[in-house]
């Protein structure tokens, strides 16, 4: 199983389950929550998505690295996932846009990668027992000590991870300066493609740190406010929720993923953690207005409890056909709507890009 050029690596879950593999990224030891992603393409976008902060991603597709990496397919300024867990790492990549191998990229970004582990077994384990904490190490080979380290990881519950990934200072998305409409994007860990798509629709995109107050946002007199995706437990973001509340009704708002969960809380709904989350590019979501099904890009471990939504005030617009969880809602009075999934794709299908146009139409 081991080739000489690669060192051994261990993946140990908090419940004591052990997977032995080898390292294909940086040497080191990291802990975090292990989740699985079922997309067959898009590994570079996935690992650079800030919503994966503090998580380790097991890829269900067994051949990872096939098309290398390039400098365009990034969703933030670097790798945000803590580790990559793959069945077979493919060093011999081929693609006309490729600039280097995935392994080299991980090493350059000092990110741990473990391969030659049964990612299907890991996926089944998480499916049956729920997302759990784990450690990946190329340094420590003592199982007992690794189990303890996994258990000691802070996990996601109760953690504010937004402050780790939000921008430090506000900025205008390069190339969007001077556009006619102005949108403030609250950066809770925003994926670049949200910014790219808004800019492409003729919007001047003002990206602001997560702790920016509502009054500061409204003072810019934006045509709309986008509440971005982001990592961690949305239930602890009470200060942000309070600011979101102040913006509702004053300006058109569109929330994506974490942004949707913040809106949910601002409107009185509750949040729960899903057993193992939705991560992939094939989830069917039904638009209840048109009856049509969209194939969506998903990445979330928490969701807005569908039964907690005040239907006097809010209309449920989208549901997940896999498990009937809430995927989209809109306010009955104010220009405000949100979705749990990712209309900006990258990776994943473009079926839902109409939502960004809909946001524009509100302005």
């Amino acid at each position: 199983m081991i080739q000489e050029s690669y060192s051994k690596a261990l993946l140990v879950l908090e419940d004591g389950t052990v997977f032995r593999g080898r390292s294909f990224g940086a040497e080191g030891e990291v802990s975090g929550e292990v989740v699985f992603n079922t997309s067959m393409t898009g590994y570079q976008e996935v690992i650079t998505d800030p919503s994966y902060n503090a998580q380790m991603i097991a890829f269900t597709y067994p051949l990872i690295g096939n098309y290398g990496v390039n400098s365009q397919d990034v969703e933030s300024d670097g790798v945000k996932a803590k580790a990559m867990i793959v069945r077979d790492y493919v060093a011999d990549y081929s693609n006309w846009r490729a600039e280097m191998s995935l392994g080299t990229y991980l090493k350059n970004n000092n990110v741990v990668g473990i391969c030659e582990v049964d990612t299907r077994a890991i996926t089944r384990h998480i499916r049956n027992h729920g997302a759990m904490k784990c450690v990946v190490s190329t340094l420590d080979s003592r199982i007992d000590s690794l189990i303890k380290k996994a258990q000691k990881d802070l996990g996601l519950i109760g953690r504010n991870l937004v402050k780790e990934v939000t921008c430090k200072m506000k900025y205008i998305w390069s190339g969007s300066e001077g556009h006619l409409k102005k949108v403030v994007v609250m950066d809770y860990g925003v994926k670049y493609n949200i910014l790219r798509m808004l800019a492409a629709m003729g919007i001047e995109v003002h990206v602001m740190p997560a702790n920016t107050s509502a009054s500061e946002v409204l003072a810019l007199n934006p045509d709309g406010v986008m509440l971005s995706n982001g990592p961690g437990d949305p239930r602890v973001l009470t200060e942000i929720v309070a600011e979101v509340k102040k913006m509702i009704g004053k300006v058109p708002i569109f929330g994506i993923c974490l942004g949707h969960q913040l809106i949910g809380q601002a409107l009185g709904a509750t949040i729960s953690k899903l057993k193992f989350g939705h991560r992939g590019g094939n989830h069917p979501v039904k638009d209840l207005e048109t009856g049509k099904v969209e194939i969506t890009s998903q990445n979330h471990g928490f969701c807005v409890d569908i039964d907690s939504v005040n239907e006097q005030e809010i209309e449920i617009t989208h549901i997940n056909l896999y498990d009937n969880t809430l995927e989209g809602m809109k306010h009955k009075v104010y220009p405000l709507f949100s979705v749990q999934y990712h209309p900006e794709a990258y990776p994943g299908p473009h079926d839902s890009s109409y939502l960004l146009r809909r946001f524009c139409d509100l302005m």
């Binding site: 079922t38 081929s94 299907r120 992939g280 009856g291 049509k292 099904v293 473009h350």
Partner: protein, 554 residues
């Protein structure tokens, strides 16, 4: 709307005789369709001229006519049976062509019969290359430069306009690319165009810019009457453009597309199916991609269940023909459940956590005078499909399933013969697509030829050639090290080496290798095909073997 209640009797057209280019995959789709329509309470009348099929077994349809598939016979059956609708999309090109003729001869109108699955305008739009080209231009998709000719003079004008050889000649409305070919000079051009006119029932020939050497991909799609569209499977050909898909080794899912490129292709496929207007059922759309700059062109579309649909069904666990039949009678994708997971609907895109390789089977030895060279007319007579956790494993499994006497990517008998071939000759053999080219490539690697050299000679993507090279290198490693170490043996088995193959490499007996392997505790495990990469529990017992940690079989 849900299931249609205005129809009671369905006439299903089968695919007729098994010929090169149209084999038992349409028996598979037709049989599935008969069964599902009967389950739904429809009376199924089947016409198929081939009694050696499953679909003509007495219990499959309600009534089966083993008669020639032509309008004369079909009209007689229509007169006698008075069906409400005709379903022509599950019997391959034969059935589709029959439907076109039934329409054009006014028979459908005379008996007030509706075509379900694909209407006449849809079939024409997809199959008539002029109309297809206009449709693609309308939706802004790129195509190879081309033109239609009905006379030699017209053909020459088009050739002059495109300006360079080679050119592709395709005869319209023929099976498996009959009457087509690649031409490299004016004499070949004239000869091929004349032959194409002869083969085409409408004396029509398409002359096309050559995209030989480009990468070739296929997407399998399904659409319902609500306009929900899902991609079932992506398939990548190992042989670049120039070798018929049916004659190429293919792999699912596509291996060398990044998500950015895959989504562009997916978007294009959605546009195509919507523009052509396939209202319900399956379609197959083929694309070519220039490996140097990523330029993507649409090649063609089949508005029906195709040869690749059978492959895509088995590869993903998504029963395309069965769902296509349900969509044709009015169901929407979200109204049908996924048989494998039971709890999730069919309106999703399968995601797989293994690698599927299809390898064509040729019998050039049985066709005296046929040259073992592959081109754009299909010549294979069958295929194998293998599943594994990686490409090497699936490829080697597929090779030994061909029953051509090789126990993997290895020459069981001809090793000496191949190693005696002179280098100059080997260059030709590696460059020319043939049924044995992959063995010549193996020999070339064994001679120490570089990856880059073989990429240049074959035009095959470096990704695949690196995989082949990996197998060859492992063979050398086995020879050098033996299989005494468990960790190494696991790695060998994970790369798809059979015990017999290892025995040949080490010049030992297969039984000894097996005994040694069992002694070391290296045993296969079984993994489920579940359409969802283990996200949900699966209920259909459909497994493949592999060498990995967890066994789901027992």
């Amino acid at each position: 709307m849900s299931k249609r209640t205005d129809i009671k009797k369905v006439l299903l057209i089968g695919s007729g005789p098994i010929v090169i280019g149209q084999a038992c995959e349409f028996d598979y789709s037709g049989t599935q369709a008969c069964r599902v329509l009967k389950q739904e309470g429809y009376e199924v009348i089947l016409i198929n001229s081939n009694p050696a099929t499953i679909m003509t077994d007495p219990e499959v349809a309600d009534k089966t006519y083993i008669e020639p598939i032509n309008t004369y016979t079909i009209e007689k059956i229509i007169k006698k049976e008075s069906p409400d609708v005709v379903l022509p999309t599950l019997g391959g090109q034969t059935a589709l062509n029959a439907a076109v003729e039934l329409y054009e001869q006014g028979i459908l109108a005379k008996y007030n019969l509706e075509l379900i699955g694909a209407s006449y305008p849809v079939i024409k739009k997809a199959e008539d290359r002029n109309k297809f080209k206009a449709s693609m231009q309308k939706i802004g998709l790129d195509l190879p430069q081309s033109g239609f000719a009905y006379t030699i003079e017209e053909a020459e004008q088009i050739a002059n306009r495109i300006g360079t050889f080679p050119l592709i000649i395709r005869a319209s409305f023929t099976l498996g690319g009959t009457g087509g070919g690649i031409v490299y000079n004016r004499e070949e051009f004239v000869e091929k165009v004349r032959y194409g006119f002869k083969c085409s029932p409408v004396t029509e020939v398409l002359i096309e810019e050559s995209i030989i050497g480009w990468k070739e991909y296929e997407l399998e799609l399904m659409r319902d009457y609500k306009d929900n569209v899902v991609i079932i499977c992506s398939i990548e050909n190992i042989d670049p453009m120039g070798v018929h898909t049916g004659d190429s080794i293919t792999v699912a899912p596509a291996q060398t597309l990044s998500d950015y490129e895959y989504q562009i292709m997916r978007d294009a496929a959605l546009k195509v199916i919507r523009e052509i207007g396939v209202e319900t059922g399956g379609s197959n759309i083929q694309f070519a991609v220039n490996p140097k700059n990523g330029r993507m062109v649409v090649i063609e579309m089949n508005p029906r269940v195709s040869r690749s649909s059978a492959l895509a069904s088995k590869a993903t666990g998504f029963p395309i023909a069965k769902i296509a039949a349900k969509l044709a009678v009015g169901y929407a994708l979200d109204e049908i459940s996924n048989d494998i997971t039971k709890e999730t609907p069919a309106s999703f895109e399968p995601t797989i956590d293994y690698c599927v390789v299809k390898i064509p089977r040729f019998t050039f030895e049985k066709f005296k005078g046929a040259k073992d060279e592959l081109g754009i007319s299909m010549q294979s007579v069958g295929e194998t499909m293998a599943l594994g956790r990686n490409f090497k494993e699936s490829f080697q499994k597929g090779m030994r399933s061909l029953e051509i006497g090789c126990s993997g990517y290895i020459l069981d008998k001809k090793e000496k013969e191949f190693s005696a071939i002179a280098d100059a000759e080997m260059i030709k053999l590696v460059s020319q697509p043939s049924s044995e080219r992959f063995f010549y490539i193996r020999s070339a690697f064994k001679r120490g030829w570089t990856l880059e050299k073989i990429v240049d000679l074959t035009g095959i993507d470096k990704w695949f050639l690196a995989q082949f090279k990996g197998i060859v290198l492992m063979e050398e490693e086995i020879k050098a090290k033996g299989i005494n170490h468990k960790e190494f043996l696991i790695k060998v088995k994970q790369s798809g080496f059979s015990d017999h193959q290892i025995a040949m490499i080490l010049n030992q007996k297969e039984s000894d290798i097996r005994a040694k392997r069992k002694n070391l505790g290296v045993e296969p495990v079984y993994k489920l095909v579940d359409t969802c990469a283990a996200e949900f529990e699966a209920y259909t017992p459909y497994y493949y073997s592999s060498y990995d940690a967890e066994d789901e079989g027992f």
